[in-house]
């Protein structure tokens, strides 16, 4: 439980973790469905698809999401960040309802409630349950060994004195 309270910056990162995927996936879907069917016999056509505008936009959004996701994973558990990712689906439904005035079925509202409750559950708990395996950076490493050597020498000397 390194730190229980999130900073504003950390909230912003989690927010982008939430909305990055639905926006990116929607772009990918729009791009891929407008392409002719691709078969396993010609897998290289998938590579060419990457350079079409909608797919490229989708990839850019997903890269932004990924940078936020990695940052979040560096200070939070995977099982803490995952519900935040799922909150993106709720965001999509709310946008569809309030902005596009789409009809949202009761089952979908139920889904929205379940995910929101789940996020609330996890947000109540600790952000991280594993101790950070903080490896010392090169500068620290350069300083550390002499100190350790000195300690070791001391203990060896003490051993010899005994």
């Amino acid at each position: 439980m390194a730190h229980h309270r999130l900073t504003v910056q950390q909230y912003l990162i989690l927010a982008f973790v939430s909305v990055g995927v639905p926006l990116g996936d929607a772009s990918l879907s729009r791009g891929m469905t407008s392409l002719p069917a691709i078969s396993l016999a010609h897998p290289l056509t998938l590579i060419a698809a990457v350079f079409t505008p909608w797919i490229a936009l989708g990839i850019l959004l997903l890269i932004g999401y990924f940078a936020s996701y990695l940052t979040a994973l560096s200070w939070a558990d995977l099982t803490f960040v995952m519900p935040a990712t799922a909150l993106g689906n709720v965001f999509v439904v709310l946008l569809a309802y309030f902005w596009l005035h789409d009809k949202v079925s009761p089952l979908r509202w139920m889904g929205v409630v379940l995910i929101t409750v789940a996020v609330g559950f996890v947000a109540q708990g600790p952000i991280s349950t594993t101790p950070p395996l903080n490896l010392p950076d090169p500068v620290d490493k350069a300083e550390d060994p002499p100190r350790n050597d000195a300690l070791e020498r001391d203990s060896v000397v003490k051993e010899q004195m005994r």
Binding site: A26, L73, A118, L135
Partner: protein, 135 residues
């Protein structure tokens, strides 16, 4: 939602195989990546200390991260392939809800996260919720 009307619908087993491939490869990728980030420490601290370039270098030189990216890339192209044959409204929620379950199990056993009752409940609720949203 754009209909994939010009496409022939894949059989049940083909659809299952496509979704299973996305789920297993993305779960492997996410757990490897999470392990890499965990071993690195707070990325915000690293950026404060050695700048954006230092943070990026710290991430991309991690072997666990590279392995994670490899599996995520396989998952991504599996997703593109599946989206070419099925609608996002089916592939997205199915892959997302199942990946959640495999991720939670993997986080407990491989990342040794303390997946208490609260987190199991949350994982189950999100899984059902994501599935319900597909209806």
């Amino acid at each position: 939602m754009m209909p994939a009307s010009s496409l022939t619908q894949p059989s049940f087993w083909q659809a299952t195989a496509m979704i299973a491939t996305i789920v297993l490869t993305s779960s492997t990728g996410e757990v490897l990546t999470a392990a890499a980030m965990k071993s690195m420490g707070d990325l915000d601290d690293i950026r404060a200390r050695s700048g954006m370039r230092g943070a990026i270098r710290a991430v991309v030189t991690s072997p666990l991260f590279v392995a994670g990216i490899f599996f995520m890339a396989v998952a991504f192209f599996s997703l593109l392939f599946a989206l070419n044959h099925m609608n996002l409204s089916l592939v997205g929620p199915a892959a997302a809800s199942l990946t959640l379950v495999t991720n939670t199990i993997a986080a407990k056993f491989f990342l040794h996260e303390n997946v208490d009752r609260r987190r199991w409940t949350a994982a189950a609720l999100v899984c059902i919720g994501v599935y319900l949203l597909a209806h």
